[in-house]
């Protein structure tokens, strides 16, 4: 069991390392491709050489980021086959289909139009070039869609039926997979957060130009475009973030309880603005969950449904006990985790019976077992749990990551408003050194915000790799801990080298760009 846990932990760490590294590049690709497309559109409308130079500069940074980041996501697919072979087989074409579409459609779309973007300035008409730039941005977004659909299915498995002969979940409704409420919210929330990151990146780099007192007009124009994209992005990210929280409350209430550090919910549940969790608190004891907190009365109930400020929000213990109340405080039927575990074990027994019947060729027994399996399959994963408390995710990491994300998001809203205001109304202030430093230092903030969001999404859904159906412990392959440890450190080394290369090449090009005299170009 200890060896199994080690393989699971190391495989999870490796997956987290790979995914977080991959996610350094993706949001910048999403945001910068849009910004470059907007800049080129302005150029085509104004025919200003300055806008052309601005477009080409940011396009170059986009290209560097794309080149370093490309194929880093492939490693995740390697890990599925090696570390997570049970999972990989079990999900069948549900996971494979969106990833295949992503590979075939979006990747080729991106690579074709990126070639036109970089090689086509003097080869194709300006209109065609602009179309290629917009299609590159669209391709990157479509690419993200399929990956996020696959991820959303893990959070909210829908549109499939389990086939015990193939031991695979077979997709029976593509629409339910693609259009699940989790998929829709996740797609918009994630892609729009890329706009924020792209906008902040452009503002931050422009601030470096201002700090060096070079190409002020170039920086000002870039800040305006980056500011608008960042502002639109953060407003829409906050809106879709709210939508995501509502969906989480319906589809993954345990995750919401962990996000809030909520153990015993009430009607008219307050929202923890910020707080310090009590490290002694567990679901099994009566300790106060918070050492200190600032709460908004009825905030969480209102956030989930603003028309119902007295709505009941279940906490960790309520979910475990199957306690659910209506607005008036009357009990509503809910399945406790002990019952879920019992149903999960029934599903396992049914699968075992099915296996035996299949070997014996007993069709009647197979059908009986299949019926029992289908009846209890919803809680199949709970059959692996030894105690209801095993279904509780790491509360502290989820709680603090959520607050880091939200607070950073609030700061980014303020940041984009302030920079837009200054760029349009008080451009003289832009020459202040402290403001340039604020702009530059916000780049790491937006990355932290983005990564924290993924920590909430992925840590908050533990112990599940597929919500309710498969825990991570069941998904793992029979491999040695040493092999996972070895590849973990190999990845760490390669990723560090790649990141160093990206930062180095980018800084070199930014420095080169700042020395170019854009002010001499015709406007």
């Amino acid at each position: 069991m200890n060896d199994l846990m080690s393989v699971v932990d190391w495989s999870r760490a490796q997956f987290a390392l790979t995914a977080m590294f991959h996610w350094l590049f993706v949001p910048l690709t999403l945001g910068l491709s849009l910004i470059v497309a907007i800049m080129e559109t302005i150029y085509l409308r104004t025919r200003s050489e300055r806008w052309l130079a601005i477009t080409k500069f940011w396009m170059l940074l986009f290209g560097i980021n794309f080149a370093i980041g490309v194929a880093t996501g492939i490693i995740l697919e390697f890990e599925f086959g090696t570390n997570w072979s049970n999972y990989s087989w079990f999900v069948g074409d549900i996971f494979g289909a969106p990833l295949a579409i992503e590979g075939l459609l979006a990747f080729f779309m991106e690579s074709t139009f990126i070639a036109v973007m970089f090689f086509g300035w003097k080869k194709v008409s300006p209109g065609f070039h602009l179309a290629a730039t917009w299609l590159t941005a669209l391709g990157a977004t479509i690419s993200a869609l399929w990956i996020l659909v696959a991820n959303a299915w893990m959070q909210y498995p829908a549109g499939m039926e389990f086939d015990p002969v193939q031991m695979r979940n077979v997709m029976d409704n593509f629409g339910e997979v693609v259009l699940s409420p989790v998929a829709i919210n996740k797609f918009f929330h994630t892609v729009l957060s890329g706009w924020v990151l792209g906008g902040v990146f452009v503002i931050g780099v422009s601030c470096w130009f201002l700090l060096k007192k070079r190409n002020r007009d170039f920086a000002l124009r870039s800040i305006k475009v980056g500011g608008w994209v960042g502002f639109a992005g953060i407003i829409l990210t906050l809106y879709t973030g709210h939508g995501s929280a509502v969906v989480v409350s319906q589809c993954q209430p345990m995750k919401l309880a962990a996000m809030e550090g909520l153990y015993n919910g009430t009607n008219g549940q307050s929202l923890v603005g910020f707080g310090i969790l009590n490290p002694e608190k567990t679901p099994q004891n009566d300790a106060d969950p918070m050492l200190w907190e600032v709460s908004i009365p009825k905030g969480l109930s209102c956030l989930i449904d603003w028309r119902n400020p007295d709505g009941f929000v279940p906490g960790i213990n309520d979910l475990i006990d199957g306690k659910m109340l209506d607005t008036a405080g009357n009990p509503v039927p809910a399945v406790s985790y002990a019952e879920r575990i019992a149903m999960g074990k029934k599903a396992h027994d049914a699968l075992r019976d099915f296996d035996r019947a299949m070997v014996e060729g007993d069709t009647l027994a197979m059908n009986t077992a299949r019926a029992s399996l289908n009846e209890n399959y919803r809680y199949f994963g709970y059959g692996y749990l030894e105690s209801p408390y095993d279904a509780v995710p790491p509360v502290a990491l989820t709680f603090y990551s959520f607050r880091i994300m939200v607070m950073a998001g609030g700061y980014l809203l303020l940041f984009s408003i302030v920079f837009l205001y200054i760029a349009y109304r008080r451009p003289a202030i832009l020459s202040r050194k402290w403001l340039s430093w604020v702009g530059m230092l916000t780049i790491p903030v937006v990355y932290i915000c983005s990564q924290s969001g993924w920590i909430v999404a992925e840590v908050g859904r533990q112990p599940w790799i597929i919500e309710g159906i498969m825990p991570t412990t069941a998904a793992i392959s029979k491999i040695s801990v040493a092999s996972v440890q070895l590849t973990f450190w190999m990845f760490a080394a390669v990723f560090t080298a790649l990141l160093a290369a990206e930062i180095s090449i980018m800084l070199k090009q930014i420095a080169k760009g700042s020395k170019t005299n854009y002010e001499s170009l015709k406007d």
Binding site: N86, G120, L351, R352, Y384, S483, V494
Partner: protein, 82 residues
Amino acid sequence: MPDSKRQPRQQSSLPVRIYRFYLDGFKAMTVGRSLWLLILIKLFILFFVFKLFFFPDVLSRDYDNDEQRAAAVRSSLIDDKR
């Protein structure tokens, strides 16, 4: 560019034009050369080192057909993990 020189290119077939488009593009690259070198090194490490030596598809490696793979996963899920 004089018309006499442009004429033959305009008559080229689509594949040839695409080939020349990429060829000219690659020749004119500056930063792109280092980036392509980096991409090729990265792809080599990913596919010829990691994938080949460290990331086999476990089920494909250990079993001959889908029936055996399904049986292995079934056995693993209902017996080993309890």
